[in-house]
């Protein structure tokens, strides 16, 4: 008796949804569990990127995790979350600001501040969080809005809309 794998693969090769339904009906006749299993496989057959890109993205972090202090720094060309770091544009008291390209959901340039968590974890993150909240409350055209925050393995990010005219004053520590 053919298993779910063969039926699933052959079902995919049917020329139409109708033909597929007929085929499945015939191939799983008298076995509702098998039919359900095949239907579930078909439902889970999706043309997205699941598994396609591999787990490579994690590799850099994980292999370097043991005894890596200085090399934990972000480098130009790195991707941090959904942002690709393009160039360093400033250095604050507890972090580095990069011009970065956001990939998703829209492609655009932003300023990304990466905090070094290794330096003084708790107080830095607390200070950063306070700053983020304060920024979020401000509504002034020349002050960049903070859209989201997040943590990477190396540090925390506050994403700000990149101003082409000048660096935001509060970034100049």
């Amino acid at each position: 008796m053919t298993g779910e794998r063969e039926i699933f693969l052959e079902a995919l090769e049917q020329p139409s949804a109708e033909a597929r339904a007929i085929f499945i009906e015939r191939a799983t006749a008298g076995d509702p569990r098998l039919r359900e299993a095949v239907e579930a496989l078909l439902a889970n057959h999706q043309p997205d990127r699941f598994l396609e890109e591999g787990a490579a993205g994690l590799l850099r972090e994980s292999l370097g995790a043991a005894g890596r202090l200085t090399s934990q720094e972000e480098q130009i060309g790195d991707s941090v979350g959904r942002y690709k770091l393009l160039e360093k544009i400033g250095e604050g008291g507890f972090g580095v600001v990069y011009r970065a390209e956001q990939q998703e959901p829209v492609r655009r340039q932003v300023a990304v501040k990466v905090i070094k968590l290794g330096m003084d974890t708790k107080s830095i993150v607390a200070r950063f969080e306070a700053e983020r909240q304060a920024l979020a409350l401000m509504d002034h055209p020349s002050i960049a809005r903070v859209f989201d925050g997040g943590a990477t393995a190396a540090g925390a990010i506050a994403r700000r809309r990149h101003s082409r005219s000048r660096i935001q004053p509060h970034l100049r520590d």
């Binding site: 699933f8 693969l9 994980s62």
Partner: protein, 191 residues
């Protein structure tokens, strides 16, 4: 015959202990190579699993004549080693996220494709464990592609199967894993 080649041929003979020895050796070698690469790395370079694994191959087996079966065993061991490294890392990240009290969304089925890498790795790892029991060939293919980063061509060659066969297996394995992860998730949601 080198030590590794010897090991490999013993694995072919079905020696499970040798397989575990190989895994331990490959695991250590991969970490060593990675550390070296990270130390001397130019800015902007990324660490590709395939490159790491191939380097480990060169160092451990060298350019001697190696039979296809032996090569397949080596790369399967490398895939398993890479899997362990990545899963451990994903677990640590996951634990940190939970411990910090940050709002953590459970992986939702429909978000599977956009899942954060560590969540996906953990979910895939769990599902893969089951797939390995039902269809070891399919699981092996997934490991070579997902954890070693092989292309379909490379994986097919390594496994000594026609490309078309590998593609069909891949199609099946993806659907199978997604279906399984869905089941895993609904188990979590049950009160």
């Amino acid at each position: 015959m080198s030590e590794i080649t010897q090991l490999l041929s013993e694995i072919r003979g079905g020696n499970q202990q040798r397989a575990e020895q190989l895994l331990a050796l490959v695991y250590t070698e991969l970490k060593r190579i990675a550390a070296q690469k990270m130390a001397g790395e130019a800015p902007g370079n990324t660490l590709q699993p395939t490159a790491l694994v191939h380097e480990a191959w060169m160092r451990m087996v060298g350019d001697g004549e190696v039979q296809f079966e032996n090569r397949a065993h080596f790369f399967s061991a490398a895939a398993e080693a890479m899997r362990r490294i990545l899963v451990d890392s994903a677990r640590r990240k996951h634990a940190i996220k939970r411990g910090s009290g940050a709002a953590h969304e459970e992986l939702q089925e429909d978000r599977l494709a956009q899942a954060l890498p560590d969540e996906e790795v953990l979910a895939v790892d769990e599902a893969l464990e089951l797939l390995a029991k039902e269809d070891p060939t399919a699981a092996n293919l997934v490991m070579l592609r997902y954890f070693v980063g092989m292309t379909m061509d490379e994986a097919a060659t390594t496994m000594s199967v026609p490309l078309r066969t590998a593609e069909r297996t891949w199609t099946y394995a993806r659907a199978w894993l997604r279906r399984q992860i869905g089941r895993q998730l609904s188990t979590l949601e049950r009160p």
